[in-house]
C-alpha cells in the first residue's frame, strides 16, 4: 500500500486537519507520503516532514498552486497520484473542492467524508445528514478519499523526519484566477479544533446578542458557532455554521443556545462528547440529544452562566 496525503496548509504552516488525515492513512496501513502544493510553501513542507509516520514529503512550489485553485492542483494530484493505491484529502472546503476533480481525472469514484477505515478498500461514511452510516467498498484501482477530521485522532505533529523532495512539474490550467478573500479574524480557537464550542441559533434574535456568547466563550477558551438559521438571518458569517453542509465539530463540550435542533444541525455536532442545550421551548428536538438540558430564556441564562464560570 502506498498512500498520498494531500496537505492542508497556508504555505507558512501546516493545518491540523492534515494530522487527522495522516491518522486515517495509518489506519489503512502502508507507506505514507505527503504532497504540499503551494507557493513559497517550503515552511509548510518542512512542518509536514516532522509529522509522525510520514516517510516522504513532496513539495510542489509554484505560483499556480498558491491559492489552491482546484483547476491547477487537481492536475498535479492526478499526475502523481496514479502511482499510489490511495489519495487522501481532508474533508475541508479545499479538500472537497479538489478531491472530486482529481478523482474524475483518474476516472475514479471518490468516497467523501469517511469516518472509519474497515479495510484497505472498505470505509464507513455518513449519508442522509448522518441519519444513516453506510459501509462502502471501492473497486477502483486508486482510492480517492476525503477524511472527516473529527473521526480520527490526529497523529503527533513532531517526531518524524521524512525526506523532502521538490517536484518540478507545473500545472497551470489557465482557466481560473484568484481574486481575493475575506477571512474571519478571531483570537478564539478554530471551530473544528476547539475542545469547547458554544453555538447560537435563531433564538439569539440578532448579531449583537452573539456578544453574550463571545463573553462566555472567552472565559472558557471556546470557539463560537451558529446554526444555519442564524447565518441565513445574517446574524453571523458563514464560516461559523455548524451542520450537514457547514462545519462538522466534535468537541468535549458543545453548548447549543437558542437552537431548536434540526436534523441538519445535529449532523454537524452530535458526535460531541457532552452536549448542553439551553432553550426556552422544552419541546425543542435539541433536548433529545442533550446530556444536560436547561429550559430557560437564554437572555437570563447566558449572563448568569458567564458570571458563574
Amino acid at each position: 500500500m502506498s498512500i498520498l496525503v494531500i496537505a492542508e496548509h497556508d504555505n507558512a504552516s501546516l493545518n491540523g486537519a492534515t494530522l487527522n488525515v495522516v491518522a486515517a492513512a495509518k489506519a489503512i496501513g502502508g507507506d505514507i507520503e505527503v504532497l504540499v502544493a503551494g507557493s513559497d510553501c517550503a515552511a509548510a513542507g518542512d512542518a509536514a516532514a516532522k509529522v509522525d509516520g510520514v516517510s516522504k514529503v513532496l513539495v510542489a512550489d509554484n505560483a499556480a498552486y498558491g491559492h489552491q485553485l482546484a483547476e491547477n492542483v487537481s492536475l498535479l494530484v492526478a499526475e502523481i497520484g496514479k502511482n499510489y493505491t490511495h489519495i487522501l484529502f481532508p474533508a475541508t472546503s479545499n479538500g472537497k473542492n479538489i478531491a472530486p476533480r482529481a478523482a474524475a481525472l483518474l476516472d475514479v469514484q471518490a468516497i467523501s467524508d469517511i469516518i472509519s477505515v474497515e479495510s484497505a478498500d472498505t470505509f464507513k461514511r455518513p449519508i442522509y445528514a448522518g441519519n444513516v452510516i453506510a459501509t462502502v467498498q471501492s473497486s477502483d484501482a486508486v482510492k480517492v478519499l476525503t477524511v472527516r477530521g473529527t473521526a480520527f485522532d490526529g497523529v503527533a505533529a513532531e517526531g518524524g523526519s521524512a525526506a523532502v523532495e521538490a517536484l518540478a512539474s507545473v500545472d497551470d490550467a489557465g482557466i481560473s484566477a484568484f481574486v481575493g478573500e475575506e477571512l474571519a479574524k478571531s483570537d478564539r480557537p478554530d471551530l473544528t479544533a476547539a475542545s469547547i464550542v458554544i453555538s447560537g441559533g435563531r433564538g439569539m434574535q440578532n448579531g449583537d446578542n452573539f456578544e453574550m456568547l463571545y463573553k462566555v466563550a472567552d472565559k472558557l477558551g471556546a470557539a463560537v458557532g451558529a446554526s444555519r438559521a442564524a447565518v441565513d438571518a445574517g446574524f453571523v458569517p458563514n464560516d461559523m455554521q455548524v451542520g450537514q453542509t457547514g462545519k462538522i465539530v466534535a468537541p468535549d463540550l458543545y453548548v447549543a443556545v437558542g437552537i431548536s435542533g434540526a436534523i441538519q444541525h445535529l449532523a454537524g455536532m452530535k458526535d460531541s462528547k457532552v452536549i448542553v442545550a439551553i432553550n426556552k421551548d422544552e419541546e425543542a428536538p435539541i433536548f433529545q440529544v442533550a446530556d444536560y438540558g436547561l429550559v430557560a430564556d437564554l437572555f437570563d441564562a447566558i449572563p448568569e452562566l458567564e458570571n458563574s464560570i
Partner: protein, 250 residues
C-alpha cells in the same frame, strides 16, 4: 447565453431517513420526494440571470427514475425553458452523473452550468467538481455570489475561513451554497405553463455512458444513538454538573 441547470430528485429534507431493518438499504419507499434544496437554489440563480438579461435560455437536466420529471417540471415552474431527463432506474454515482452531463453539454454547449454543491441524500459534494475535470471547465464551488461580465464569471465562495472570490473563464461550472439566494415559490399560472414546456428523455446508454457502479454499499446502519440526558433546574446546577459530573470545565 445559455445556462444548464442540473436538478436531482431526493427525499425531502424534512424526512428523517432510517436504514431498513436488514441493513441492506435505506427505507424510503413511501418517503416524500422533492427537488434537492441546493438544486432549487441553482434554478433560482439561473432564472435571476435570465431576468437580468444575462441569460437567454435555461435548460434543466435531471438524472434518475421516470418520476424525476416532477423535479424538472418544478424547475420549469420556477423559470427553466425546457428539460432533459436522463432516465435510469439504477442509482447513479457522481462520476456516472458527471459523465452523462458531459455528454449533454457536448450537445447543448451551455456557457454556464449551475448545480447544487451536494445532494442531501448521498451528501457526496462531488458532481460539479467531477464535471469540471471531465469538460476541462473551471469550477466555482460553494457559491454565495455569482456575477457574469466580460466573458467571465466571478464567483464568491463560502470556504472554511470565510469567503474567497475567484474569476473563471466561460464556459464554467458553479455549485451553489445556501446563501446564494432564496428561491421563489412557483405561481400557479407558472406551474400550469410548465406542464406544456418541452421535456426530452434519453438514457445513459443513448449518451454512450457506462454507469456501472464503482462503489458497492455493503451495509447501512443507524448511527450510534445518544443516551437521553437530564434536565437541570437552573444555571447553578448546570455549572455544577459540567464541573463535577462531566468534568468538561474547571
Amino acid at each position: 447565453m445559455k445556462i444548464l441547470v442540473a436538478v436531482k430528485r431526493v427525499v425531502d429534507y424534512n424526512v428523517k431517513v432510517r436504514p431498513k431493518s436488514d441493513g441492506t438499504d435505506v427505507d424510503i419507499a413511501n418517503a416524500k420526494m422533492s427537488i434537492n434544496p441546493f438544486c432549487e437554489i441553482a434554478v433560482e440563480e439561473a432564472v435571476r440571470l435570465k431576468e437580468k438579461g444575462v441569460a437567454t435560455e435555461i435548460v434543466a437536466v435531471s438524472m434518475g427514475p421516470k418520476q424525476s420529471q416532477e423535479q424538472i417540471r418544478t424547475a420549469m415552474a420556477l423559470g427553466a425553458d425546457r428539460g432533459i431527463l436522463v432516465e435510469s432506474d439504477e442509482a447513479l454515482e457522481p462520476l456516472a452523473i458527471a459523465k452523462c452531463l458531459k455528454a449533454i453539454i457536448a450537445n447543448e454547449s451551455p456557457d454556464l452550468v449551475i448545480m447544487g454543491k451536494q445532494s442531501i441524500d448521498g451528501d457526496n459534494n462531488q458532481t460539479g467538481q467531477m464535471l469540471g475535470a471531465l469538460t476541462s471547465m473551471p469550477q466555482g464551488t460553494f457559491a454565495s455570489e455569482v456575477e457574469v461580465a466580460d466573458g467571465k464569471v466571478k464567483v464568491t465562495r463560502e470556504v472554511d475561513g470565510g469567503l474567497q472570490t475567484v474569476e473563471l473563464n466561460l464556459p464554467a461550472i458553479v455549485t451553489t451554497d445556501l446563501r446564494l439566494n432564496e428561491p421563489r415559490y412557483a405561481s400557479l399560472p407558472n406551474i400550469m405553463k410548465a406542464k406544456k414546456k418541452p421535456l426530452d428523455t434519453t438514457t445513459p446508454a443513448d449518451l454512450g455512458v457506462d454507469v456501472s457502479p464503482r462503489v458497492q454499499t455493503l451495509k447501512v446502519e443507524p448511527p450510534a444513538e445518544r443516551q437521553a440526558g437530564i434536565k437541570v433546574a437552573d444555571v447553578a446546577e448546570l455549572v455544577d454538573k459540567l464541573k463535577n459530573e462531566a468534568k468538561v470545565i474547571s
